[in-house]
Amino acid sequence: MPKPSRPSIDSVTTIRDDGSRFFLHPADVRGFFSKHRRWTGLLLIAIYLSLPWIDIGDNPAVFLDVGGRRFHLFGLTLAFQDAWLLFFAITGLGFALFFVTSLLGRLWCGWACPQTVFLEHVYRPIERFIEGDAVQRRRLDASSWTKEKILKRTAKQIAFVTVSAVISHLFLAYYVSLAELWDMMHTAPKEHWGAFLFVFVFTGVNYFNFAWFREQLCIVICPYGRLQSALTDENTVVIGYDEQRGEPRGHVTDPEAGACIDCNRCVQVCPTGIDIRHGLQLECIGCSACIDACDEIMTKVKRPTGLIRYDSLNGLEGGETQWIRPRTIMYSILLLVGMAVAGWSISTVRPANMGVTRITGAPYIVSDEAVRNQYLVRIVNKRETVQSFSLEVIGAPAAFTLTGFTGMVEVGPLGEEVFPLVMQVPRSEYTGKFPLELVLHAGAEEFELRREIEFIGPDPKLLREDSP
């Protein structure tokens, strides 16, 4: 079934009525936004490809060592015990996205989302280079399998698979480090089935996604696109068509007509196949291609540019965009609170962790002489060098004795060690449970870790009645 020549707001352009895919070939576009978007995209790709190669301290800038349970982020080393910080990372990302979306719509989708960045700045340029512009690509699609078509298609698929493999390998490098990745690439797959299968499947998924699936991900799968109607309002800056200036559309020589000459350029360049003149739509990923396309035409016909532009729905109707409104105030407060708490919690991260647990068995022991509590202190060294520690106990009564973890102890590079902590109070001095604070001092460093524990025992009255 042929597709109607123009996109309709009632259905998705890329799916025909019989359910088959209508494969888009967006036309080339040049202009202010395209240029800046290309540079932004290339910068993001450069960052993605280079982070595993740059060493900060003893480790790569970003190295999420899942196997060793150590996470190296720009010189900061986190252990598994610091996983609670993820809460701030995830909520921070969420509120930042909410905030940006309420102000500037789907800026993320069009400018920074990996789906768009890789598709627009890697895969489409390769396709453009091998198969030509939109018209040539459409002709190639329609043509029979000539020698030229087989050659071009093979070249394109090989290039796509290669690029997908590179992206997937670098992705793995974030988790195993480049050196380890290089090692794996030089040994047989059976030595590391998990990693091999991961890269194999991830390459396949990337290839399928960027070679064929493309905008379907944004339109059908991505939850963020669905959320935008809840996050934006009439004051959010989106990409819109100025109906008051543009309508009624007409020929360039028609004095009665509006500014839009109905050239359809904005539709031809759209990567999701919509007509922006229908207004804000779920499919719009805010890529700004139609802005550049329209501005180019407006310049040619000597009319002011900006018929399609970044503006709020209010602005497009001739009103003022309200930047400060309850929604943006709320999101920015939440964002600032989140950032402040995240900044504070990251500042509490030390190059070591201390865990204190009661030794399994009886919670306390009453001997002939004393009430006893036994703990295990687990120290995790997050440094690549040996660290020494000493323990101080605050809040103990006078008759309190401590054995086990006394004096200085050493923990090896990236090591974990347990030390017993045996505490006693003579029966005659025991007057009930009391809190204690443990302070772990790192040897040469000026940092300390604190934990609260409780010394417990039987009811002091029963203890006295039972005295030997």
Binding site: S8, I9, D10, S11, I15, D17, D18, G19, S20, R21, F213, Q216, V220, E243, E247, R277, H278, G279, I359, T360, G361, A362, I365, S367, E369, R372, Q374, L376, T401, T403, G404, F405, V409, E417, V418, F419, P420, L421, V422, Q424
Partner: protein, 184 residues
């Protein structure tokens, strides 16, 4: 262009019957790729059902879990030697093993039994009993000693060190203690 101009008027039968808050829904076909994912799950469920419920090929859960527990236990208990009284006595003659046992003893056990192993004999305020004399509270055989280190004596406050040390290091600790005694 007003809203009504943007939309093409629905053809009879192209809109589904339900209306919510004045919102109607077109009766459109799912994308074929989406339907295809349904077919894949159907094919998968048949293969899954056949493999797990019919073929008899996969091992049953019970034996599989037991085998895995046994494997983990074996890994934990793995020693380069057999745990017997005679072997523990033999180990108590080997300097390297004694040295290894001493390291563990001093970091964990000395808190109660003192670095000299003499416990209450040396200092009445110490918690643990003397390990160098010939008086044993929980059995004199090396394997009984190993059991105390591995499983602990919970009522007396002797912790189970097996989970912390593992079999090999626990045996080394026993060997270190035995090195203070005459081998039979």
């Amino acid at each position: 262009m007003s809203d009504s101009e943007r939309h093409t008027p629905p053809v009879e039968g192209s809109v589904r019957k339900h209306v919510y808050d004045g919102i109607e829904e077109y009766n459109k076909r799912l994308p074929n790729w989406w339907l295809f994912t349904l077919y894949i799950t159907i094919a998968f469920s048949i293969a899954y059902w056949f493999y797990y419920a019919q073929s008899g090929l996969p091992e049953e859960d019970g034996p599989r879990v037991e085998a895995e527990i046994a494997r983990i236990e074996a890994e934990r208990m793995k020693t380069s030697f057999e745990l017997t009284d005679a072997n523990l006595w033999a180990m108590s003659q080997q300097a390297l093993i004694i040295e290894e046992g001493k390291t563990s003893f001093n970091s964990l056990c000395a808190a109660c039994h003192l670095p000299s192993l003499k416990g209450k004999t040396e200092n009445p305020a110490a918690i643990g009993p003397d390990l160098t004399d010939e008086e044993w509270v929980h059995g004199a055989e090396p394997m009984a000693l190993y059991g105390v280190v591995d499983k602990g004596v919970l009522l007396k406050g002797m912790p189970a060190w097996g989970p912390v040390l593992g079999a090999e290091k626990s045996a080394a600790v026993v060997a270190y203690i035995l090195s203070y005694h005459e081998a039979p």
